[in-house]
Homo-oligomer: 391 residues x 4
Amino acid sequence: MDFSLTSELRELQDRTQSFIRDTIIPYERDPRRTAHGPDDALRHELIAHARAAGLLSPHVSRDMGGLDLTHLGRAVVFEAAGYSMLGPVAMNCAAPDEGNMHLMERIATPEQKERWLRHLAAGETRSCFCMTEPHPGAGADPSLLMTTAVKSGDEFIINGRKWLITGAEGAAFAIIMARTVVDGQDVGATMFLCDLPMPGFRCVRSLDTLDSSFTGGHGEIVLEDLRVPATDVLGSIGEGFRNAQVRLVPARLTHCMRWLGAARRAHDIALEHSRRRHAFGSPIISHEGVGFMLADNAIDMHTAQLAIRHAAWLLDQGERADLESSMTKVYVSEAVWRIVDRCVQVLGGLGITRDTEVERIFRDVRAFRIYDGPSEVHRWSIARKLGRVRT
Amino acid sequence: MDFSLTSELRELQDRTQSFIRDTIIPYERDPRRTAHGPDDALRHELIAHARAAGLLSPHVSRDMGGLDLTHLGRAVVFEAAGYSMLGPVAMNCAAPDEGNMHLMERIATPEQKERWLRHLAAGETRSCFCMTEPHPGAGADPSLLMTTAVKSGDEFIINGRKWLITGAEGAAFAIIMARTVVDGQDVGATMFLCDLPMPGFRCVRSLDTLDSSFTGGHGEIVLEDLRVPATDVLGSIGEGFRNAQVRLVPARLTHCMRWLGAARRAHDIALEHSRRRHAFGSPIISHEGVGFMLADNAIDMHTAQLAIRHAAWLLDQGERADLESSMTKVYVSEAVWRIVDRCVQVLGGLGITRDTEVERIFRDVRAFRIYDGPSEVHRWSIARKLGRVRT
Amino acid sequence: MDFSLTSELRELQDRTQSFIRDTIIPYERDPRRTAHGPDDALRHELIAHARAAGLLSPHVSRDMGGLDLTHLGRAVVFEAAGYSMLGPVAMNCAAPDEGNMHLMERIATPEQKERWLRHLAAGETRSCFCMTEPHPGAGADPSLLMTTAVKSGDEFIINGRKWLITGAEGAAFAIIMARTVVDGQDVGATMFLCDLPMPGFRCVRSLDTLDSSFTGGHGEIVLEDLRVPATDVLGSIGEGFRNAQVRLVPARLTHCMRWLGAARRAHDIALEHSRRRHAFGSPIISHEGVGFMLADNAIDMHTAQLAIRHAAWLLDQGERADLESSMTKVYVSEAVWRIVDRCVQVLGGLGITRDTEVERIFRDVRAFRIYDGPSEVHRWSIARKLGRVRT
Amino acid sequence: MDFSLTSELRELQDRTQSFIRDTIIPYERDPRRTAHGPDDALRHELIAHARAAGLLSPHVSRDMGGLDLTHLGRAVVFEAAGYSMLGPVAMNCAAPDEGNMHLMERIATPEQKERWLRHLAAGETRSCFCMTEPHPGAGADPSLLMTTAVKSGDEFIINGRKWLITGAEGAAFAIIMARTVVDGQDVGATMFLCDLPMPGFRCVRSLDTLDSSFTGGHGEIVLEDLRVPATDVLGSIGEGFRNAQVRLVPARLTHCMRWLGAARRAHDIALEHSRRRHAFGSPIISHEGVGFMLADNAIDMHTAQLAIRHAAWLLDQGERADLESSMTKVYVSEAVWRIVDRCVQVLGGLGITRDTEVERIFRDVRAFRIYDGPSEVHRWSIARKLGRVRT
């Protein structure tokens, strides 16, 4: 075993940390941050900085303009990027684009890559992933998928409703999951690529949400006789769920990486406050009620980082790491939540104001215990694996 | 022992519940709800409804237009009011006005009551309580109070800075806590009444905060040579902290009451969702991962209600109930938080959208573990009492 | 509402507290305490003290020699008795005898009462309740009951295996639950009374267990052609489960009462230690890491007591209190556990030695989260009720 | 980074696992297990097995008969050994001997090694470490050390009282920590080696404790004019606390390693039960209330293992790892506790009987949150480090 990072990776980590601290954090007070992430102008300005710093899209291949990072490399760099909520946007490694790039590099055709991925990887465009549906459709249980794509000649005609679609507003294209019907037969779920805007794809509203850092917010989409040519199927027909796994496991981990960075930021803000702020005769960190919270933060960050890096390393070894990524997702999403909640508490009244970045992190991170599988679904899935496998 | 409510109180509880359900909840979608509570027009409209229903200011004396409720009566009625975040506003029993009325009824002079309290109790005006100061001033540790009131002839000249002052924007008067200097001597803290607007009292900004339901938001105030006549001292000179206790203990409990109502609302929304929403073949409430959360909510609401009613009853017996109100504040603020957090989790993606009232309750209630004494300060105070008293 | 106790009940509480403190606690160092509770000689000596003090069997009717306490009265007195692990034994209100007396007072025939209950209530004899079976029989799920009672003439012939039968060793009689077969038909579960010792009822071993305070320990029983006359059916044939409810709900609560007393004892020991023991320059209670644990104990004891008294009061009003007793059982069993665990931690190394009574309480109370329905079964049952009832 | 084990280490892990499973676990039902660990005969029999298997004292140097394992190697092998509570005894790597060997290898003189260490490493003898004192002496706060060693000619005369001294009964020698006085001057704490039995060293009692697996139990020692030649100082005079650090940090980790193995054992027993035991129509693992507990176990074991291996690796790099070993000690001791507590709950009634090994593990592991620094002391120490270091 070896817990050290290569010198290349350490150098990249340092460089990312400096970039975030010196170039990105100053933007956090920029009024162009909206309730739905940075606006277009700010986004492009941030991306230009990352491009200049050689830090754009670090997860994609060099051919596509990235740094071709391994999963472990992402664990290190995305955590550093996440130290500012604007970092992943700047470095073009925020959700859902990052996961979409990962997916497309693996299963898109060369033509699809040139047409969609290249611009996405360059930070010129944004994308969205249209999977979740409003009640009673697909959510934590994807088998409830109700959107249909019916083959009609060389096209598919898609109808349905999607919901909580991150980044839909302003996306240049969508990946749409639909139950597919060919010759009157349900042949399973399929993913489709679709340029936006497009008749038949209507973003009927942008949801008001607790979080506020996802570019483009979360939209509700009506799909009405949306026509997609058969050539724009992503992967194979009927293989939608299987292919989604290619995206799902790593996407789950990259969320963990970025959020761990955000939690570390919150912790540093709370820690700094706890050293400066006096009450009852001494800095509040010297009161155990406060100090213990910060100690627990340190423990949570430490164990979360180990779990993330381990799971990333497993993926790099070619393992599926289903169980480990589920365990890591549950553990990190809950650890990050505990950390940020403690930071609010340490900051006291200041913690619930927007005067520090903690308030925003707090609002944004709550959803992580829900998306990419709620804790309950992962625990159920872990238990099912335990029930089956003989130890 | 008798855990039953009198028939009068049950009738009032029923009436309040109907009023909230039929008259107030429909306003929750009113666009006049802002990030800083209902706007003035909406507030007055809501108050008119409560007045018509005979439910205005139930905690003040009949002479002042209220229902003269005991503390136990408040426990029942405020919980019912809190079932909508607009309920306490409508019934004029929201913080900080409710606590200010309670305080003034007990320690204001007859002239002060006519001049300030009567209009406040009638819901015509709003007020604010200026105690908390920005770092390094008074917060969880009130002894750090830095604002000064210097006696000069028949006046006091007040200078300082206040922060997180709920309802300051738009208040018709303020109660201001200041360290008092008479003849060059620090004679302790004093509370002052002061009409608003007033030169020398400047609301320099309205803070952006996690919560969004307090009317007038939370302001930052600069006090610059604010002149207050000696007749406008509330209570006695130098008795500010002692008199603040008159407000503090019951105010702590009324927060518990209202928030318990809000938690119950969140629970009912989550429960209803859990019965309707299906996943993996059955309503999600039938999955233990969800059902157990709702069961824990039921337990938390039950024990929280018992603790609140017990502490209120103690106050009605003339007890100071210092220990019990501290224990209740810690317990209820944390129980309510657990409940609402679980509701978000049960609702899944829906829980982080503003499509249900749960998102707003979630944001608003977080601060309750901080204000009126953070959990840590109460635990410290409880431990100190345990350390002293021989069992 | 009225949270005060009647003066009669307060007097009885005082008297019980003095009795426990002055008469019973000194016996805690008696070598006749075994790994399976006090031995026979000690038990009779303790009972003689309670009889002399007029505190024997306070829950049974005056006709049977008790104090005819209401459920609320039991809540107060049993908590005081539980302050020593020997208290309920002395006062003849320990499990399982206390629950058996309660059951028999309600459903036994006058003849059965004279024959069995009178001696039991007088503390002359002990009894056991034979319900639980070893895997794969009845446990948390009683429907798995495998023991059978087959009608044969005027007798029932019982065969089966029982397990974890508290107090079996040395009991003068047993109540046995068995699936009943009459004329080849399964007519449901029935309870039978049976003198001990008796051929066909063999205690094959006494289990080694974590706990050590139940008189007679926990036995494993083989029932082999045990013959019980039809006159010794307790209640009616086929009504075993229904009648068991008569015992179950109150028995669940009386466990809560006694264990709360034990938790209070552990807390007082830890509190006293925390005032005397110095570390890092001051009494350890003044370190928040310790003080907060004691504060949380105070909160847990307070809320647990309220929940117990409320549920007891409901029973006194003639309510079934199914939901409330389930909530109370889960809450109290877990609160008591937290309390005692914290006490061990506060005591440090001392906490894991038998030098204080805390070690024994710790071992004994763990099982309470399991018996009378594990927390998981109660949460499931509460959720099911929530799922059904429209709010 | 590389999370894989070398093939040598994997082979050793496999070999240890087989040894424990095939050779040691069958001894768990041996009646020679007492309330104070295995008796002498059993201990020697177990050690003979480990010697034959080439697995004795794997942590000591090859010169002393061991396998010269790195800290990481210990992490792997000790966890495997801990899978049976008898494993570390058999392999001569149980506390306190293992830590004493580690310490002596580093700071003892060659003569001391031959005289004491060689026999200890061979499993022929046992030892004890006399540091902790009864109230008001040294415990969590070592500065309270009251035992004195006064220089008198070529000897030290030691007086004091020690308490909770693991393995004292039957030890062949002791390491004694005492405040040292030379020429009337307190020159700091010193460690002394002392053959046993010895006049002046009296084991006045063996404590009854919650745990039952430490060989020789925990003794209380009176030191009365105990004479130790100056040549038997271990390390240097006045360097006792500094030298104790050499023992402390690794000893803290080896406890984590062994207990993680024990927790894994408990988990496997509970898991197996949860697959076999049916209730409410299916194996109990399929009920989320049970399945989630087992899933949480899996997460806790995974993160605990990562933290242990990381800290061990740091030591292997020559780091002091103060912070990481504190974080790991807190995390693992609490994670292991959660795991074993859940196992008891999953097992239900069976969990509180000695019919499975879980009951014993449960009792034994509770103390780990206390010894080697209670969680509270470690959290305080972590917070102090956070407060100092600028991030």
